[in-house]
Amino acid sequence: MAKASDQEIVEHLTEIQMALRLYVQSLLPGDASAQDVAQLANTVLWKKRRQFESGTNFKAWAFSIARFEVLSYRKKQARDRLVFSNDLQNIMVEELPEEAEDLQLRHLALKTCLEKLRPQDQELIHHRYTLRTPLAEVSEQVDRSVGSIKVTLHRLRNTLQTCIEAQVKATKTLAEGGQA
């Protein structure tokens, strides 16, 4: 069991900063404290650096600790949580890496699909996901009920999803044809 040197740890930490931030941020989306939790995770990682064994996966180790920090943050928030069963969590952790492989393809497809939406729908997506405007505010602006906006968003996600699946399928078919 070889312990990593401080220099090694600094290099690892440096390398995973972005991933760590995004990881924590996506665990706490829209939460203004996400960056602080990520920073706290950094500190904990540094304090626990003697526990890291050289040659093992630093990112995996870091994420497990970051996940714990998020959990403990959640606990301190003392809010209700709904948690998937361990069985389901384990299945998902196993299946997820393969699922993630076509993300770049999907990102390109999403861009095309977003452009096909009506301007007011693009605007709504923009508010919901980019500006994170509270739905109540959007509701006032467009003079529609929050419930009806939620329904529209659900419909838009379905539309985008269908479009993306078609694009991805077409691209994959094309790529396979090209290789043959």
Binding site: V70, L96, A100, P119, Q122
Partner: protein, 540 residues
């Protein structure tokens, strides 16, 4: 559950609107139905891509679909979103990684339903209060005669948040973004994020790797934004002194508070708003390493003088590569390592120190003679204090007039000299020695850091004092009934304790979980000035 219902529930889940009953139903469906999971993953991916932080493709959606900004680098410099930084390179390759992380995050998000209402701006403060630990974005990776105002910082320390004052010397800091900065005192600065340093006054040189382009140094008169470079900034202590920027290689942007943005290239500089030629006399990471190497050489040269030092009883430099340990004092004693292995010393040299963490580790030595007073000192790097007693230097057994020097598991130093042989039968409350404890001088935050420990046993002044890193942390009078005619050592161990019963194969675990370097015993109680000087000269 039909497909429409399923998608409805998944969206409610991702939007944080799901009821507990619906959640349980969805959970059951996802557990048994691979097709349902597939649908969930597809939706998660959509959600991830839509919510990729600072995704400029979405931000600029109504205008154009051909924006080339890279969302992945936005994190590095969030405060510069409004001041467009040119030269930021597109690195699309990072997208799958970023998105995978996002996706994994979302997966977990499914486990802990996101509730947008929980945002609480005061939360970070609560966190800090609940867990009193320093936070930071950077680590100190080298110091050269650094003198700090307030809290002393050491190599390996996280750089704390808030203003820092380096009164003299130089310090090398590595930020988690990959940026290396060297600051020369007198400097007043703060590290605001892995990508942002505030320089109120002082000299700074920064080397910025490609991955950290956009690194910003803020000064009172403007900001220097890096575009992949090696540059220096000199900020004056008073408002009348003009800020200087020197580009040693690459390119930076100067965003003056009162002027338009200027780009500076290799060899170019600015003083105030005046163009100048870039200076060269800035301490950089390379020169810094050179400085440290020079200091180590100076120290090694000084050690050679020790053979003429009459006050020195023994000096073991601790050679991790050899079983035999040679005493550099005029007595040229021989010691031997048992089980212990080599470790990296405080200068970073392999096998320059001895690691006593393997069970049974010790350095055996024999020191004859009687001593009125003495000083024990060494450099030590402690991994943990997980034994009740953690040995520094102990004589075998527990004989009359013999010193024991160790660390309690609560972080206090322990020093004693046995003053009385207990009579038989031993009365209750009989004390054979006085234990001189220091205040707590070690906690987990110091794990793995080199520190210097010294203890003086001064029978002339009738006092015992403990020193950490050359600074006295406690001084206590020797009780009258605990004075001894002399102290002696005989057979002893560094880093462990040999019990009196030699025929008993069982032994207590007291070896130090850590490394020791440059162990010294003096036949006098060194003055606080002597100890401070020793540490100053021998510290990296």
């Amino acid at each position: 559950m039909n497909h429409d219902d399923l998608m409805q529930q998944i969206d409610l889940l991702l939007e944080g609107d799901i009821s507990e009953a619906a959640f349980l139903e969805l959970e059951a469906e996802l557990t048994v139905n691979p097709a349902a999971r597939k649908a969930y993953y597809q939706r998660l991916k959509l959600h991830t891509l839509l919510t990729t932080p600072a995704d400029s493709d979405l931000a600029d959606l109504p205008l154009s679909g051909s924006n080339e900004k890279n969302p992945a680098t936005e994190w590095q410099n969030p405060k510069h979103n409004e001041t467009e930084v040119s030269g930021r390179k597109k690195s699309f390759k990072t997208l799958p990684l970023v998105s995978l992380m996002g996706l994994m995050g979302l997966l977990l998000l499914g486990f802990m339903i996101f509730n947008p209402s929980i945002s609480d701006p005061s939360a970070p403060n609560h966190l800090v209060k609940a867990e009193p630990i320093a936070t930071g974005y950077a680590v100190i990776t080298g110091q050269s005669d650094a003198q700090w105002k307030g809290k002393r910082l050491q190599d390996g320390d996280l750089v704390p948040a808030g203003n820092l004052q380096l009164e003299a010397g130089a310090v090398k800091i590595e930020l988690f973004s990959g940026v290396t900065v060297v600051l020369e005192g007198e400097a007043n600065f703060a590290i605001a994020s892995p990508m942002e340093l505030i320089l109120e006054s002082g000299r700074l040189r920064a080397q910025v790797p490609e991955a950290a382009q956009g690194f910003t140094v803020r000064t009172a008169t403007g900001d220097v934004v890096d575009l992949g470079t090696d540059f220096a900034v000199v900020a004056g202590a008073t408002a009348s002194e003009q800020t200087e920027v020197h580009v040693l290689s690459g390119e930076v942007e100067w965003h003056g508070n009162e002027s338009t943005m200027q780009t500076l290239h290799t060899g170019e500089g600015l003083k105030g708003e005046q163009r100048i030629t870039a200076g060269k006399a800035f301490l950089g990471p390379d020169e810094f390493a050179q400085l440290q190497a020079e200091k180590q050489t100076r120290w090694k040269t000084m050690l050679k003088q020790l053979e003429n030092e009459e006050r020195l009883i023994a000096f073991f430099p601790m050679d991790g590569a050899s079983r035999d340990q040679t005493d550099l004092s005029m007595h040229t004693r021989q010691g031997a390592l048992v089980a212990a292995t080599g470790s990296t010393d405080r200068w970073g040299s392999t096998n320059g120190a001895v690691d006593f963490s393997p069970t049974g580790s010790r350095a055996r030595l024999r020191i004859s003679g009687k001593y009125q007073s003495m000083t024990l000192m060494c450099w030590v790097q402690i991994n943990s204090l997980d034994r009740w007693y953690n040995s520094l230097f102990l004589t075998d057994g527990h004989e009359l007039h013999e010193p024991h020097w160790q660390i309690m598991n609560d972080g206090r130093l322990f020093f004693s000299v046995k003053a009385h042989e207990p009579p038989v039968p031993t009365p209750q409350n009989f004390k054979d020695k006085h234990i001189f404890y220091s205040p707590v001088m070690w906690d987990r935050s110091k794990a793995g850091k080199w520190m210097h420990i010294a203890t003086t046993f001064d029978q002339q002044a009738g006092e015992v004092a403990h020193f950490i890193d050359g600074v006295e942390i406690s001084r206590e009078a020797i009780p009258d009934d605990m004075r001894v005619t002399h102290a002696h050592i005989g057979n002893a161990s560094i880093g462990n304790w040999n019990e009196p019963k030699r025929d008993d194969p069982k032994f207590v675990v007291r070896n130090l979980n850590g490394s020791i370097d440059e162990f010294a015993i003096w036949n006098v109680a060194l003055s606080p000035e002597d100890i401070a000087e020793w540490v100053k000269n021998s510290a990296p």
